[in-house]
């Protein structure tokens, strides 16, 4: 199987509002793909279409070569977490997993294993979901997705509500899953949640895919961040040298030129640089903000 998930020209319209606008992508085995975009960009709608919960207006989405609704026992093939709070608040954590295991045809031992994996104590597992903290719910939320030992994971904002330790735990979990040959699609509105773990990024804004590619590819094209004692002089020097330059919201100077070009321009102008670095996470963050700000519904990412 070459592509674990294939999405082709997927569109979802609600009367006048287009939630998902002609998106296409494919995911290969053994990869983690970050599905990034501001709130309301269409990530959740796209994921609901992929898992057969929302009918698309046009286009197709297949998982393991089939429309989701045609998978005979989907829990055994695709692990899905769309909303960790979408569970009956009156059930205990253990009961939620036991029901899932029952549908999938799995034994009780698997439930204990999953509780152990997501780090819920037997005492916590006996409590009703209504009494869980957001972080506990989120941890429990990932367990049904892993329960059936699937090949593909589709996770909508799985890190939402997790503390830094929890996010770290989630990263390790997903990395391990992909290393074993599994495929992960996880969405987030926060770049730093996914950039460490993702091999590929799909940036979505206002229903449209703005950029997609491997993380390395996207990083390579994102230029240089610099600063000087006299920041405005640096901007002028760069522009004088024919290099694009602007001041970022964080007060640095950003240029699409290489670090070497920026450094030379500063040297020629006799400026003291206080900062000079190629695009890293922060560079990608700024790119993410830029790429999505014109396409997000709020105008800028909140």
């Amino acid at each position: 199987m070459d592509h674990m998930i294939t999405v082709q020209n997927l569109t979802k319209r609600y009367e006048s509002f287009t939630a998902v606008d002609d998106i296409s992508f494919t995911l290969s085995p053994g990869t983690v793909t970050g599905f990034l975009g501001p709130n309301g960009a269409g990530k959740s709608t796209a994921m609901r279409i992929m898992t057969g919960l929302t009918p698309p207006t046009s286009g197709t989405a297949t998982i393991l070569g089939k429309p989701y609704a045609e998978l005979p026992n989907p829990g055994r093939q695709v692990g899905v977490l769309l909303d960790a709070s979408a569970q009956h608040a009156g059930r205990t954590g253990r009961e939620v997993l036991a029901l899932g295991a029952m549908v999938m045809g799995l034994g009780k031992a698997r439930v204990d294993e999953m509780l152990d994996l997501v780090g819920l104590t037997p005492d916590e597992a006996r409590r009703r979901l209504g009494h869980y903290s957001l972080g506990m719910r989120q941890r429990l939320g990932i367990a049904p997705a892993l329960l059936g030992d699937p090949e593909v994971l589709v996770l909508d904002e799985p890190a939402n509500g997790l503390d830094p330790q929890g996010i770290h735990w989630m990263r390790g979990l997903l990395k391990g899953f992909a290393e074993q040959g599994g495929t992960v699609l996880l969405s987030s509105h926060l770049l730093h949640e996914v950039e460490v773990v993702a091999d590929q990024l799909i940036l979505i804004g206002r229903g449209r895919i703005v950029r997609q590619g491997s993380k390395a590819e996207l990083l390579a094209g994102s230029g240089t961040t610099a600063n000087a004692l006299d920041r405005d002089a640096l901007v002028m020097a760069l522009q004088h040298a024919g290099l694009a330059a602007d001041v970022t919201p964080s007060g640095s100077v950003r240029s699409s030129a290489t670090t070497e070009e920026v450094s030379r321009a500063a040297l020629d102008a006799g400026l003291v640089l206080t900062e000079l670095r190629g695009a890293d996470g922060a560079g990608l963050e700024e790119m993410f903000l830029q790429l999505t700000s014109s396409d997000s519904r709020e105008g800028a990412v909140a």
């Binding site: 998978l71 769309l82 979408a86 569970q87 009956h88 059930r91 034994g107 698997r110 892993l146 074993q180």
Partner: protein, 281 residues
């Protein structure tokens, strides 16, 4: 804690599985064929039955049905004249509260999915929504049958106590027709609950409609003379009366069929159609 338990079941390119994973595979036999078997319908019924029992609302509803049944039998036992204390009286007594409460089983089985957004999980695990709906229908019928059997049991005990304590008539006569009639009528009410739950989606709206719509129709039907003939055909509680009494004739079966078609089958059909097309959020 390790993440090694998480691995795709049958990827030929997998690195050799460690002992822990091998054990996992042995315990949860991963399908070696690319097409694992689907979920057996019996399993879906069992799951839906469990879901009706594993929440407080579900459990309390069943407890309430049991308690009310006992209370009614107690009431009949001590409030009726001794010569009226027959098994038939007791059974009729239990049927009334059950008629009100059993449909709630059906309503809750359906609406709890939407109210708690549990449908998101249910329909990702079994995307064939119609199968889930049928499993709920069968599951609530099973619970309904248990409740009816319990009612017969309590009615029998009540009749025995009537003989012992109040020197009651104590007749055990209960025709097969009335037993079948009571069971069938109660199951019809359960199915109506499912239909209204599917149709209206929310617990409150479904229950209120279930309680008011047929009654309102019955009142209109009895007040307006010209509607009287029509209401024979379209008033379910009227059509069910001869069924419970064990006095069904050809024409009363026809009345029942038409009324049940309107109040049970139609809501189930339209509601299922809605549920199949509904966006699950």
């Amino acid at each position: 804690m390790t993440t090694t338990t998480v691995h795709p079941p049958d990827q030929p390119t997998n690195p050799p599985l460690d002992p822990v994973s091998d054990r996992d595979l042995a315990r949860t036999p991963a399908p070696s064929a690319p097409h694992p078997p689907g979920i057996p319908f019996a399993r879906l019924i069992a799951v839906e039955l469990r879901k009706m029992l594993d929440t407080r609302s579900g459990r309390w509803l069943l407890i309430a049905i049991g308690v009310v049944t006992i209370v009614v039998v107690g009431f009949v036992l001590f409030a009726s004249r001794p010569q009226d204390l027959t098994l038939s009286t007791f059974v009729t007594g239990t049927a009334t509260p059950q008629t009100l409460l059993l449909p709630l089983l059906g309503v809750l089985a359906v609406t709890s999915e939407w109210g708690q957004r549990n449908a998101l999980v249910t329909f990702t695990l079994e995307p064939r929504r119609l199968r889930v709906m049928l499993a709920k229908l069968v599951g609530s019928m099973v619970l309904g049958t248990v409740a009816i059997a319990f009612a017969f049991l309590i009615a029998t005990i009540g009749n025995g106590l009537g003989i012992l304590l109040r020197n009651g008539d104590g007749s055990w006569a209960l025709g097969a027709a009335s037993i079948g009639g009571v069971v069938l009528s109660q199951l019809l009410w359960v199915a109506q609950g499912i239909g209204f739950g599917l149709l209206f989606g929310s617990t409150a709206v479904a229950i209120v409609s279930y309680l008011t719509l047929p009654t309102a129709w019955a009142i209109v039907g009895s007040m307006v003379t010209s509607l009287s003939t029509v209401s024979q055909w379209l008033d379910l509680s009227r059509a069910i009366e001869p069924l419970v009494a064990g006095q069904m004739s050809g024409i009363s079966w026809a009345h029942l069929g038409v009324a049940a078609g309107l109040w049970v089958i139609l809501p189930i059909l339209v509601g299922s159609w809605r549920m199949m097309r509904r966006e699950v959020k």
